[in-house]
């Protein structure tokens, strides 16, 4: 019986297998890098209607986070400040600065400044700011060094894996409550501190949920 296929066909199956393995590896690596929140969300820095600098207000002037985000330690939601909060200073400081024209217009008309929201978890995620900041989880853990940002960008992936990393090992992220709003606080690494942090988790009854319904209520 004559051969149906020429001799070179003998190596085709192995080549096909090698090609499939290579393509699959490339797809897996590509998806892992380009399709996860570490890539898709980190770095998002939309242009805001007003060029508000956190580096100036929070960093240089050392205004406490809670001066503007007033309900962060009292509410599940951390509010974006109203124009009135801005005007509490800017009715006196730089009150004629052209950069603040939008803020003044807003104050007069009553229409809020259309700030662009950057950090947003999906609707099916229940996140409570107050329980985190009141139990020693600093703003910096999820938002990064806001006090060094001229323009705020999305610094952490805020993926479910990111949340669970801390929920599974809270002692590695917890800090003294008085240091929560000190974004530049350096975490000591000695054994005594480690024991102290574990003590916080125990004493404050920090029991971060890992069940589905903990966050997906």
């Amino acid at each position: 019986m004559a051969n149906v296929f020429p001799k070179w066909v003998n190596t085709v199956p192995i080549k096909v297998i090698v090609a499939i393995v290579m393509i699959k590896t490339a797809v897996v690596l590509g998806v892992t890098y380009y399709c996860t929140p570490k890539y898709t969300r980190v770095g998002y820095a939309p242009t805001q209607p007003v060029a508000f600098s956190h580096a100036l207000h929070s960093g240089q002037l050392e205004i406490d986070c809670r001066y503007c985000h007033t309900y962060v330690d009292r509410s599940a939601h951390s509010n974006v400040p109203t124009t009135e909060v801005c005007m509490s200073c800017h009715s006196m400081v730089r009150k004629d600065d052209p950069q603040l024209a939008i803020v003044r217009d807003s104050y007069e008309s009553g229409e809020p400044v259309p700030w662009v929201r950057i950090h947003k978890v999906p609707d099916y995620v229940y996140f409570n700011h107050a329980v985190h900041v009141n139990r020693g989880i600093s703003c910096v853990e999820c938002h990064g060094r806001i006090d060094e940002m001229e323009v705020v960008h999305h610094a952490k992936p805020l993926s479910m894996g990111f949340c669970l990393e801390c929920h599974r090992n809270p002692e590695e992220y917890i800090r003294p409550v008085e240091e929560v709003y000190n974004l530049g606080w350096e975490r000591p690494t000695d054994a005594a501190s480690k024991a102290e942090f574990e003590g916080f988790v125990h004493d404050w009854k920090v029991n971060p949920p890992q069940s589905c319904s903990g966050c997906h209520r």
Partner: protein, 499 residues
Amino acid sequence: MASSPNDSPLSPTQAAILSKVEPAELVEQPLVANDRDFNWVTNKICRIVETKTPTWWWVCMAMALLTASFTGMGLAYLVSTGVGVWGLANPINWGWAIVNFVFWIGIGHAGTLISAVLCLLKQGWRTSINRAAEAMTIFAVICAGIFPLFHVGRIWFAWWLFPLPNANAIWPQFRSPLEWDVFAVSTYGTVSVLFWYMGMIPDLGVLRDRAVQRLKLGAYEGSSWLTKRMDIFRKYFYAIFAMGWRNAGNHWRNYEMAYLVLAGLSTPLVLSVHTIVSFDFAVAQLPGWHTTIFPPYFVAGAIFSGFGMVLTLMLPLRAVYGLHDLITQRHIDNMCKICLGTGSIVGYAYIMEFFIAWYGANPYESFAFINRGFGQYSWAYYMMFACNVFTPQLFWFKAVRRNAALVWVMSIFINVGMWFERFVITVTSLANDFLPSSWGYYSPTIVDVFTFFGTFGVFSVLFLMFVRFLPLMPIGEVKYVMPQADPHCHSSHQKGEQH
């Protein structure tokens, strides 16, 4: 068999008694009837795929495609709208989808039993039905897989069923029997495909060689332009899938070894797959589900329904292709007897469930079974009982087994009954659980109905494609069980000769 007194160890008294009694000779029916030769077998099986496509095939295919489109439409509507288009609502969140899944997955079991268990038990009669039964298994697994896959609702997250690393940093719940199901069914599907395909390689080689031979002879005058082109297509198609099969001795040696290894691998699957499917129910705490009888009862039911389906498929095929010499009355008898055996086990399990409900003295369990027999779904229970317990008992009678049309009708009853069994188990227990305040009544929606009946179309499309393009029976193995294959047979097939 009667022997003369001279060459038997019988005493004269015994011989005298024997000659008086005249015991009937036990005739073993040959597995290939009418003294056919090897060449006839090859031609018979190969010509099914080589001759012009019969008209009935086109008619059936058109009908099957139309029916299959119901599933397509039902699923498209479900994906675009949400899983609420099925009649699922508290407390019955497992409706037809799970019923249909268990129904289809159960049907597959006959294929694995025939190809693996009967192979290891050296049951020669498996050869002419095993290929089609394996194909049935694979297509049934495909139909079964549709339901849990779409039952997850957001089909694009179905990959979460598999333990893959992900940005959510979570794994599937390995303690859930539903997760075991994923592995059980995917293993089952994979091994079944391997077994089916590997067994087919020698026959694909035969089909390839026959196409090459015809092209070499080139006798295409008078036939339509398509005939030659089809042979060219066949040559390459079968050559690719025959993977260089040359019918050589070492090929056959490796083939037999691989076949045995796969048979060994598949044998535990016959038991494990439906055992794990039964765990979906048995591991739950619900009365009517939480019973240890479930695994054996499910496996018996699966084989029962599977052989029902094999009969449903093989009897029409035997009739249209005139395969009466290959699928003989002996084959049908054996399949009917397996239905009788497994059907009786299932009937025993039904009765035993009631006994245990009474004997266990658990009021919830007792209620669950009284509710099955006399509650809001009792009509389904009677349907199930009539089809599954009474129908197979008719197979005690030779006259019934010899009436192919009647056997076929009864095989349909078995299929219907086994579907109702899954309905009864799934729905009655969920509808009336511990808390009367949460009781409900489940009715399927039109989308449920369309999606389910469409899967018969999906199955038929696949099976018709199989019948048309792939060898229906393992040619080599059919020859192996023929009298001519016995080297001591010589020209005579007469039994009782001393060699």
